[in-house]
Symmetry: C2
Subunit: 117 residues, 2 copies
Amino acid sequence: MAIVNHMVQHFPLDLTFSALSDPTRRAILERLGQGSATISELAGPTGMSLTGLKKHVAILEEAELVSTEKRGRARHCRLGPRRLDDATDWIEAYRRSWEDRFARLDAIIERQKGASS
Amino acid sequence: MAIVNHMVQHFPLDLTFSALSDPTRRAILERLGQGSATISELAGPTGMSLTGLKKHVAILEEAELVSTEKRGRARHCRLGPRRLDDATDWIEAYRRSWEDRFARLDAIIERQKGASS
């Protein structure tokens, strides 16, 4: 299997996994899973500055995990069009190939046991 | 739901998702899913320097997704103890809560349809 040169990216998966690599951003997604919220409402429980929170929301927005809309003075956030399907697909494919490998190793061990008994 | 302050981390999930956010590192994991390999074998198809590749392997090692062992002059790499279970668990819990929310919204819409007819 060829290992692609990482200079030719930016894959959506990079943005997805990168967005998920921060606990504040995961918490924002979990919160928005309960319903949409303004930036102020998201910042409320964190003690984080609006500026700090806006940066996290911008990263989630770039990864298309969150959509925002300005209404009056408030920016409303909700879950975006990308639904982590690509992340799940990658992880699942990876786990399957890994499990297949162990299944093949098991089969080899079983055959060797059979040959030596 | 409280949004945790992101100053108090480093959660294993941060390392896992951060490790997965690079296509070279994902390719390394996919390659090691086929069987263990030395750093040179991993670098071979990429045209990447050994130094560059070692940095990626070190990040995967810190996230416990890869284990390495020095034998003679070669460093052998294989998949590490962490099996992306935590990443899958988080994504699945998140998707479930999201789907639950849509199910609840559907139920509300159905009730409103019933009330207005």
